[in-house]
């Protein structure tokens, strides 16, 4: 039970101190959506002044945590607080954005919103929507930038051989927390449709 002023930037965004950029971006999007003036979830709970404080705290936390140098400096100056919150989180099972996705696993499919099949271009759109730089995907997956661009551009003539492509798609899907099998199936369907490879 800590006031906003007492919370670390990690607590404000509800991420663990070792969260990657992707996770922070997702948590930030979630926080902005939640603490938006028109958000249903905060209805009747906060005053306008409290909302302004929360929104400012979220923006500041995001600005610092997304900047490598600022984050390092923040971590150093708040090391005691961050370590403590880390221990508390282990005990209290904190809310992590990864939990959000796993909790949506089943019935999400039962909604009539249409199944999304991610291929190259839609994959790129999703990545951009998540605010994840292709370089970050490259760093995480160890796949070179050129290959990732070919995958996203659906440049079928220059894609690597199928056996490698499968592994690349798997790694890329995991980097965006998508179901690897679905991405592979969707992408291979694309290949078949275009009659290549």
């Amino acid at each position: 039970m800590k006031r906003m002023e007492e919370q670390t930037y990690y607590e404000i965004l509800e991420v663990s101190p070792d969260a990657g950029l992707k996770e922070i971006q997702r948590a930030y999007d979630h926080a902005r959506e939640t603490f938006h003036a028109d958000s249903l979830a905060i209805y009747s709970l906060f005053s306008e002044e409290e909302m302004r404080k929360i929104q400012a705290a979220i923006e500041e936390a995001y600005r610092v945590l997304m900047d490598e140098a600022l984050r390092r400096s923040y971590d150093q100056s708040h090391s005691h607080l961050i370590e403590r919150s880390s221990r508390e989180e282990q005990v209290e099972k904190p809310v992590k954005s990864s939990e959000i996705r796993s909790d949506l696993s089943f019935t999400e499919l039962s909604l009539e919103t249409g199944e999304i099949t991610y291929r190259g271009r839609s994959l790129k759109q999703l990545r951009e929507k998540l605010g994840i730089d292709l370089k970050a995907v490259s760093a995480e997956t160890k796949i070179n930038m050129k290959t990732l661009e070919l995958i996203e551009e659906e440049d079928l003539d220059h894609l690597p051989a199928m056996v490698y492509l499968k592994g690349f798609l798997k790694a890329y899907a995991r980097a965006l927390n998508l179901d690897p099998q679905k991405l592979i199936e969707g992408y291979f369907q694309l290949l078949q449709e275009k009659g290549k490879k």
Binding site: H30, T34, K93, T107, E108
Partner: protein
Amino acid sequence: MTRDHHQRVIWTIGGGKGGSGKSFITTNIGICLSKLGSRVILIDADLGGANLHTFLGLLPPITSLSDFIKKRVPHLKDALIHTGVPNLQLLTGAQDLLNAADAKSAQKRKLLRSIKSLESDYILVDLGGGNALSVLDFFLMSDGGILVVTPEPTSIENTYRFLKSAFYRRLRQAVSSYSAKSLIDEAMDQKNEAGIRSPYELLREVRRINEEDALKMVEEAATFRPNLILNQVRSKKDIEIGFSIRSACQKYFGIQLHYLGYIVYDQDVGNSIRKRRPLVLENYRSKAAQCVSEIASRLANSHRMNPGI
């Protein structure tokens, strides 16, 4: 799945407002748990209109809790009604006791002890949308409180009101000093003279007068973990509201709400209620039934739930 005498779990379903689906959810989760092989008792304590029997397609029961209280039956188990669903029994009339303004707390505690002594694996109590102190006490005394919300401002507003009442009542029970209890009572009024508008401001004021009680409040907040079911969702955006409510509760109350799951809006629900046939029996393949079933499975694997809410 069987549990021994000491592992019985009581869940209370409350909050929100009338029409958010608490009775529907209580009935259908109960049936799902009974289909998993567990012994389940449903208790109808809805002050606004007890009618779990209708959801089960039963006539108004002849025996009820009143028969036990008035000693017309010797044991509480004698007031239970067989529902026709294997492993599932029903107890009605609990609202009479909760509603009685003169019901002594000793009498309520005795009732709770009797309920806890019933031979069952799971006991699900439908509290309805009421906010009475005895309802809050029941919510707090159970092993897990479940809030049912629909993605509408009225439902969300009522749920926060209920949650705040339950939270403050729990804090009140935790603190020792008269001054801290008085301050919490005062804070219940949103327009209180002390100017306390939020749990954090309440904590700050309590800390000023009694540091020990302030610490107790912090400890209570850390262990108060109600559960949330979002009902009648129509889109992915609606589903996200559950996660947003969780975040809002973390920021406002400083508590961790557990988002247990959601149930999609489904016309089959209305059809099943009109037919007086529980959805999970009438149309198990419907989308809403699948959602209920998933939530029931989560409850059965309740390692994620924190005992004592």
